[in-house]
């Protein structure tokens, strides 16, 4: 007997869950709202603690998802309605038209060059531009572009078929329609991930040049990102000093995101690799390094040369020549100039969790993450039978724990069918 399982969100958690379920012989519908799979992990150049290239790490898994006949990938799709009960859920999916045929397109990119539209690329944290027909990053999987109808001038009524004309494979079809799909599934795994906290005004993010949040900096460092990996200030010069601010958003969110300290320490390695004599200052509250590996990792990073200042009251302002970090040290008010500032901002629930929770009929916790059935013994079961939660959709965590939860959620879904 074949069971169908719906996995919502194709980040590392959803990918792991889908592959495992497919290997177990289940039919998986993997629903993802963006045009690609991979989620947040593919934004990273390297992951701690071993500095493995993140895209290299996940690309075999992405390929597996694309090639596994048990996985039906639904991109640009969202879950609109869920009815029924465990073992017999009816799910309505809205699948937006991609306008590019996944079978015929070979990802040559001929269509980008001819597109007249240029807009900021939100996947690159708006640090570079993309066309209206686009793939989010170079190296995205599947390597097939999509047309962004909100920005495409043809869809705004103008006469343009530049991309279609440029395509040698007749892969572009402007007449493709959005679809509504009705699926029957036995269980649902929710792995919709997180979004990054937007720093509040006192950090100067978005108002002072060269103040970046962690993902922005990650893209700046990325070899496939906007600067092809060169760390430069907005004026083109090389920063001589940099401040890394930990715990940005902790006060607002009222929890510790568990991974930012380690991720911030990783930046020391990034920086020293590119600019050997850069002066780095970490502003932190408590270094949160739980687990068998991270003290050593922190030690290795510290040995590269960096200052640590313990402070929980920080404000960023712009000075004459550089950015100023204003902080409290004990009772003393102090100031440190820096050419660039990285804000290590926290992991936050996706803004549309509320809508999805309503559709699924499950509860959110007070923070807006999906509520687990038991904080110690059931972190992967939601408040509704047959619906499981995994990864940062449930709570902030590192990749290892996301993968663990994905595997655990799969076990619970399989357990439900008594397929032991």
């Amino acid at each position: 007997m074949e069971n169908n399982i719906l996995v919502i969100g194709a980040g590392i958690t959803g990918i792991e869950a889908s592959i495992l379920l497919a290997n177990a012989g289940k039919h998986v519908y993997l629903v993802e709202k963006s045009p690609i799979i991979g989620g947040n992990i593919i934004k990273f150049e390297h992951v701690f603690p071993n500095f493995e290239c993140a895209t290299c790490l996940v690309s075999p898994r992405q390929q597996e998802v694309l090639q596994n006949s048990n996985i039906e990938l639904l991109l640009l799709s969202e879950v609109k309605k869920v009815t029924g009960k465990p073992g017999a859920f009816s799910v309505k999916i809205k699948k937006q038209a991609r306008y590019v045929d996944m079978e015929n397109c070979i990802g040559c990119g001929a269509c980008y060059d001819v597109c007249p539209v240029k807009i900021p690329n939100e996947y690159e944290e708006n640090l570079m531009q993309r066309f209206a027909i686009y793939v989010p990053y170079s190296g995205s999987l599947p390597n097939v572009p999509a047309i962004d109808t909100e920005n495409c001038i043809r869809f705004a009524g103008e006469e343009c078929n530049a991309c279609q004309e440029s395509c040698m494979f007749e892969a572009i079809n402007y007449d493709e329609k959005d679809e509504e799909l009705d699926l029957k599934v036995d269980a649902i795994i929710v792995s919709t991930g997180f979004q990054q906290h937007k720093p509040v005004a006192k950090y100067g993010w978005g108002t002072i040049d060269d103040v970046y949040n962690a993902f922005e900096f990650e893209r700046i460092f990325a070899s496939n990102g906007p600067t092809t990996g060169e760390i430069k200030k907005k004026d083109g010069s090389e920063p001589k000093s940099i401040a890394i601010i930990h715990c940005v958003g902790r006060d607002e969110n009222k929890y510790c995101s568990a991974v930012c300290c380690i991720n911030s320490l990783k930046f020391i390695h990034y920086l020293k690799e590119k600019i050997e004599d850069i002066k780095i200052t970490n502003f932190y509250r408590d270094l949160c390094l739980p687990g068998k590996k991270y003290d050593k990792f922190a030690g290795d990073m510290k040995s590269l040369g960096t200052d640590f200042i313990r402070s929980d009251d920080i404000e960023i302002s712009s000075g004459d020549k550089s950015i100023l970090v204003n902080y409290m040290n004990g009772d003393a008010k102090k100031q440190l100039p820096a050419d660039m500032v990285i804000l290590s901002s926290s992991i936050e629930p996706q803004k549309d969790n509320n809508d999805l929770a309503k559709v699924l009929g499950i509860e959110l916790d007070s923070f807006g993450f999906f509520q687990e059935s038991d904080p110690d013994f059931g972190t992967e079961t939601s408040t509704r039978d047959g619906i499981y939660i995994a990864g940062c959709a449930q709570a902030p965590k590192d990749i290892q724990n996301c993968v663990t939860q994905a595997q655990s959620a799969v076990e619970k879904a399989l357990f439900q069918f008594n397929l032991k």
Binding site: A24, G291, P375, A406, K420
Partner: protein, 554 residues
């Protein structure tokens, strides 16, 4: 039989056709020995392209073929399937990458064409030496052995046991439950530890497919994924248990306080470890040795962190829990928590900490802490500048690996970290797997962690097993694997150390190394270690690579 070789040139739309003169390429290849067809197509990976390829293979009775197109990373699998559909062994073709390695990187068309011809000729030379590799199937035993009857082991056993799958749960003490039964309240649900265990013991009792062995230990393990043979000793009797997978859930221990220097006097009265304090709380009387209620209690975090070299991740939380215990039971007692860095890595923890702090616990950040016993207990910090007298001290010592870790690691041939905990196969993507396929590590055996994370890992390992060893389904191991030529192997055993998967073992009678075909992943490490090239990797044999390289170096 005479070889009949086909060469197929993919235009990849304009990608290859515009940058490489495919007519010239065709001309250069047509007269190669045994080549019976050189054909081009607009796009071989398209439906029509695949059909054309399949028909060409059949019509021409091809024995091997070369396809010059994109990177094999992109479409090797695609063409393997076509070959199979055409009734050919999927390893009898070779891809030449003339897109990424020629068309896309060389401006000059003549140069690109020349290089493409070279690459295709190299692939042609190589493919002559390709061999058919047949899929193998092995029967896998679905049963599972779980070593360690703590909460992680219990959860994994309950998740796995069923009509088609037996679980053997091995526990070295006289009862199941591990450390958690000592806890009066567990973090963060505040359930009672004993009742958590009792509830599960009841389920185990009802489950016919869990066989529990108490006061038992594993004394020998042989075999591999799907086919392990384990010798378990219970009392004086030994039994042979056959399973398909093994889960290691042997938990942790607290660091031995007598090993610690630099904290001052740790062996005085009224100094307790967390576990000892749990016991006191459980028994319901928190008193000093003299029997009086402590007016002040100091709780010290991070005991032994420097010595072990890692943060155990849970001591801050349990320390704060102790404050809660004291606040609940002894409302008038002053509490001082001495911490280094508060580690509260989850959404629920900060709020809990804030509640406790608001109720009047003093949190003191200090890196250097010494305990002195001079007319009562004193906690000194800030380089001895500050002193806090207390009636009782609770220590939060570091978690260290269980004593049996070493012997078990040797028996199972799985590695351990510098920290002494078992090493996961990959720190990100395979947290509960080990380098030995079919052997899993969960809970604090893998690293110090909270109850909730231990339980997640228990279910994760169960999930991996449910998805990989399915009753009635055979395993299909990788076919591009190493093999050892007995005539050349001199038994130096260098290859044994290089194998990350424990796939090579040594035959003491024949005095040669042997590759286990199920465990080998075909990574090729062992081949580099073998001076006499007794080891070869199927599909990447020396002769295959040489022929390709020689042709390219022309």
């Amino acid at each position: 039989m005479k070889e009949r070789i086909g060469i197929f040139l993919c235009e990849c739309g304009p990608n290859i056709a515009e940058k490489i003169d495919l007519d010239k390429v065709k001309e250069a290849l047509e007269h190669l020995p045994n080549v019976v067809i050189v054909a081009r197509h607009k796009l071989f990976c398209s439906l029509q392209g695949k059909e054309f390829l399949k028909e060409s293979i059949k019509e021409n009775n091809l024995t091997r073929f070369v396809i010059a197109a994109c990177s094999p990373k992109q479409h090797e699998l695609t063409f393997m399937i076509v070959a199979e559909d055409a009734g050919m062994n999927p390893h009898l073709f070779q891809m030449a990458n003339i897109r990424e390695q020629c068309a896309w990187i060389i401006e000059d068309k003549d140069e690109a064409t020349k290089k493409a011809i070279l690459y295709i000729k190299a692939a042609y030379k190589r493919v002559i030496y390709h061999e058919s590799l047949d899929k193998k199937e092995i029967v896998a035993n679905p049963d599972v052995l779980v070593i360690g009857g703590g909460i992680a082991g219990i959860e994994a056993s309950l998740a796995l046991a069923g009509p088609d799958r037996k679980v053997y749960l091995i526990e070295k003490t006289e009862s199941l439950g591990g450390k958690i039964k000592e806890f009066d309240e567990v973090f963060i649900s505040f359930k009672n530890g004993q009742s958590i265990i009792d509830e599960r013991l009841e389920r185990i009792e009802k489950e016919d497919n869990i066989e529990t062995r108490l006061q038992a230990e594993v004394i020998d393990v042989k075999g591999f994924l799907g086919n392990f043979i384990v010798i378990v000793k219970t009392g004086d009797s030994e039994e042979k248990i056959q399973v398909g997978a093994i889960i290691v859930a042997i938990g942790f221990e607290l660091i031995n306080l007598s090993q610690l220097k630099g904290y001052g006097s740790l062996d005085c009265d009224d100094i307790y470890t967390g576990l000892e304090f749990e016991k006191m709380k459980k028994e319901g009387k928190i008193t000093t040795k003299s029997g009086s209620v402590p007016k002040s209690v100091g709780i010290i975090h991070c005991i032994g962190r420097n010595e072990v070299g890692y943060c155990s991740g849970v001591c801050c939380l349990s320390s704060i829990k102790f404050s809660k215990y004291i606040q609940d039971k002894l409302p008038g007692t002053n509490i001082f928590e001495f911490y280094r860095d508060l580690t509260l890595p989850d959404k629920a923890y900060q709020k809990f900490y804030e509640n406790i702090e608001n109720k009047g616990v003093n949190f003191i950040q200090a890196d250097d802490i010494k305990i002195a016993n001079e007319k009562g207990l004193k906690i000194k910090y800030n380089k001895n500048k500050s002193t806090q007298p207390v009636d009782m001290i609770i220590l939060s010592p570091a978690y260290v690996p269980a004593k049996d870790s070493n012997s078990l690691a040797e028996m199972l041939r799985i590695p351990r970290d510098d920290s002494g905990f078992f090493t996961e196969e990959h720190p990100k993507l395979a947290p509960v797997n080990t380098s030995a396929e079919g052997i899993f590590i969960i809970g604090c055996a893998q690293g110090p962690k909270s109850i909730k994370d231990s339980i997640s890992q228990a279910h994760a390992a169960a999930g991996k097993i449910l998805a990989s060893i399915i009753p009635g389904k055979k395993l299909e191991p990788e076919v591009r694997i190493s093999y050892i030529n007995e005539a050349f192997c001199i038994g130096c055993q260098k290859c044994l150390n290089t194998c990350n998967y424990g796939a090579i073992y040594f035959d003491n009678l024949k005095f040669i190394s042997i590759v286990n075909e199920v465990l080998c992943h075909g990574c090729g490490n062992c081949i580099a270690s073998c001076n006499s090239s007794a080891i070869q990797l199927k599909h990447f044999k020396d002769i295959q690579m040489h022929q390709e390289i020689i042709e390219i170096l022309r």
